[in-house]
Amino acid sequence: MKRFVSWFLGALSALALLGAPALAQQPLKIGFGMSLTGPLAGNGKAALIAMEIWREDVNARGGILGRKVEFTYYDDQTNPSTVPSIYNKLLDVDKVDLVVSGYGTNVIAPAMPVMMQRNMAFMGLFGLNVNSKFNYDRYFQIMPSGPDPAIGWTQGYFDTAMALNPKPTTIALVGADAEYPALALAGAREQVKKTGLKVVYDKSYPPNTVDYSPIIRAIQATNPDLVYVASYPPDSAGLIRAANEVGLKTRMFGGGMVGPQFAALKTQLGPLLNGIVNYESWAPDVSEKFPSVEPFLQKYQARAAKEGVDPLGFYLPPFAYAMMEVLEQAIKGVGSLDQAKIADYIHKNEFNTYVGKVKFGANGEWAQPRMLAVQYKGISGNDVEQWKKPGHVTVLAPAAYKTGNVAAPYHENRK
């Protein structure tokens, strides 16, 4: 009997020894939904390329916790209603070890209840003020809009506007009927209260609007000093064209337009962007402040050209890569996949990433805002190459990155 027991234990130990490396080599699966079709697919695909570059880099370094990293992802079609089922499938059927978000507020918000139910640490990719209602302590946002995103997102625009001489007194607010524009406009309204501006127009429009000239004319009829816009790419293009056609007269126009950050609209609109004040996360004009972004962009741009995705990649891809870097450093720091410990680690530590040092505040947003308020200037023609050189994107705020002053009024600097 003793001989049998020792033989049995020996066999068990041998199996365990054989099994251990096999277990260690099981891939570490990261799951997410991403907009690969639908209105925001251009941005989603650009983010996916950046995340794939990170996956290849990290696997070349030996993976995480000795395990190769694999992605499991599904197309959320830029449709918020698909998101909860995607994350439930990732966690229940695909059995992923970690999850991160897809691109944008509209698809991050519907994933939040699932994350909270499962107690997952959740890195978000460019969602605006998503955690304000959820207050989930394991949510983190890589978009640098600061600890109070509603305010931080619009801070650069309003700081620039209120420094104009003479001070502006009236403002028009306009945005699409969607999650992000609604949140951005809520932030703008907070700023309006703080600055004492008078709101002369505050309306939203349906996302499938074709002609924006009636909206611009209605705004012009109120004669505002400032026009703050929160829009998605097709409406940004429509509003900019309409402002040009109608001959909108105002001192500052723009603010929260999604679209001009990407090569597609940069090249389509070309000189029509001149004079617009908007936001960017990176520009060649401040490349020396973020030295690691350019080497990343070289890698990204080579891939993007082949895949027919945003050939510049200034806005989103570096941050998509950085989001994965934060996760990687947190797992390595914790030494396990314990979600509570990962979240705790991210809260307590600062991370060195391609976009610079990242520190998160209590609500999971960046501890300090760093979104750049910019003005487009001197753009001629529709050539994409001009955007790769400094000189067309003047950084107005924050002060640490400022490269020039705003040129106002808008109508004198247009075209």
């Binding site: 079709t37 251009g42 695909k45 004319r217 209605a218 429509g238 679209g259 597609a264």
Partner: protein, 291 residues
């Protein structure tokens, strides 16, 4: 509410220009759905296909998008003929056109979208034309050429279709098929050929409407879905199968959208448009020009 003259005049012009585009997008549905009873839910997919063809030729060769639209219309016509032949053989002939036919056209819509994504990617695309950034001003009224040129082409196309259907022998045959297909068959007419031609015409108008759309705004492969409701609403408002009704319905919706956006708030525009549709159907269930 204040109604300054300049704002009212501009709202009228903007509404008419927008209505012209809506008419171009809907006239094909009026033929296929209104006259032939073919629920071509893929119509917006062909509109976007037209946009992309104009885009690629414009981007590569620099040709004017409208000229491209005129040149490729026969290709869309041929595509429409082939598509109707498949639809007829697989569904209509077997009497399975109602639900399965609808599923077929849904499938065509998705295939078109995915094919465009695979070929062109998912970015927004727009054409460039010399007149796009030009605005003509007559007193206080603006005429942006980005909208005026598509409007003129749309009017020419819709009026052309109306003249063809009412003044030519083949056009009248299409109307006759719409009225009583069985009677025509009993008289020895090849109704399949007539319907095939009419459906092909509807697809050709979709291609042209796509060209007009991409002159006005950037498009991406899935944007067609957003217009499904609109094109069918215009068709029903105008009266099933009435081209004149489609034109008037489209102009009414364009004006409603423009006036609402200017004076009440753009987010009310869909509610006002569909309110007009519901109100019209309540008093005249066959639509404005329906029989």
């Amino acid at each position: 509410m204040d109604f300054p003259t300049a704002l009212v005049l501009n709202a009228i012009i903007a509404g008419l220009l927008l209505g012209g585009l809506y008419a171009a997008m809907s006239v094909g549905v009026s033929i296929s759905f209104g006259m032939l009873d073919v629920v071509n839910i893929a119509h917006p997919g062909f509109i976007i296909l037209g946009s992309y063809i104009a885009y690629i030729v414009n981007a590569r060769l620099g040709f004017d998008p409208i000229a491209v639209g005129i040149v490729v219309s026969p290709l869309f016509f041929a595509l429409g003929m082939a598509l109707y032949r498949v639809y007829y053989l697989c569904f209509e002939r077997r009497g399975q056109e109602s639900l399965r036919g609808l599923a077929f056209f849904f499938g065509i819509l998705f295939i078109t979208e995915v094919a465009l994504i695979l070929v062109f990617g998912v970015d927004y695309r727009m054409v460039s034309a010399a007149y796009q950034d030009t605005t003509m001003r007559l007193g206080p009224v603006d005429f942006p050429m980005r909208l005026v040129v598509p409007f003129l082409v749309a009017m020419a196309m819709v009026i052309g279709v109306e003249i063809f259907l009412t003044r030519t022998f083949f056009g009248r045959a299409v109307l006759a098929v719409a009225q009583d297909s069985l009677a025509l068959r009993l008289m020895g007419v090849d109704t399949l050929r007539v319907k095939e031609f009419a459906f092909a015409l509807s697809i050709a108008t979709a291609g042209m409407a796509g060209v007009l759309l991409v002159v006005i705004q950037p498009v991406q492969p899935a944007i067609g879905r957003e217009y499904i409701g609109l094109v069918f609403a215009v068709c029903v408002l105008g009266g099933m199968g009435s081209i004149r009704g489609t034109l008037v319905g489209a102009l009414i919706l364009g004006l409603a959208e423009s006036f609402t956006a200017t004076f009440a708030g753009p987010s009310w525009a869909p509610a006002v448009s569909f309110g007009i549709l519901l109100g019209t159907l309540a008093f005249k269930p066959s639509g404005l020009f329906g029989r």
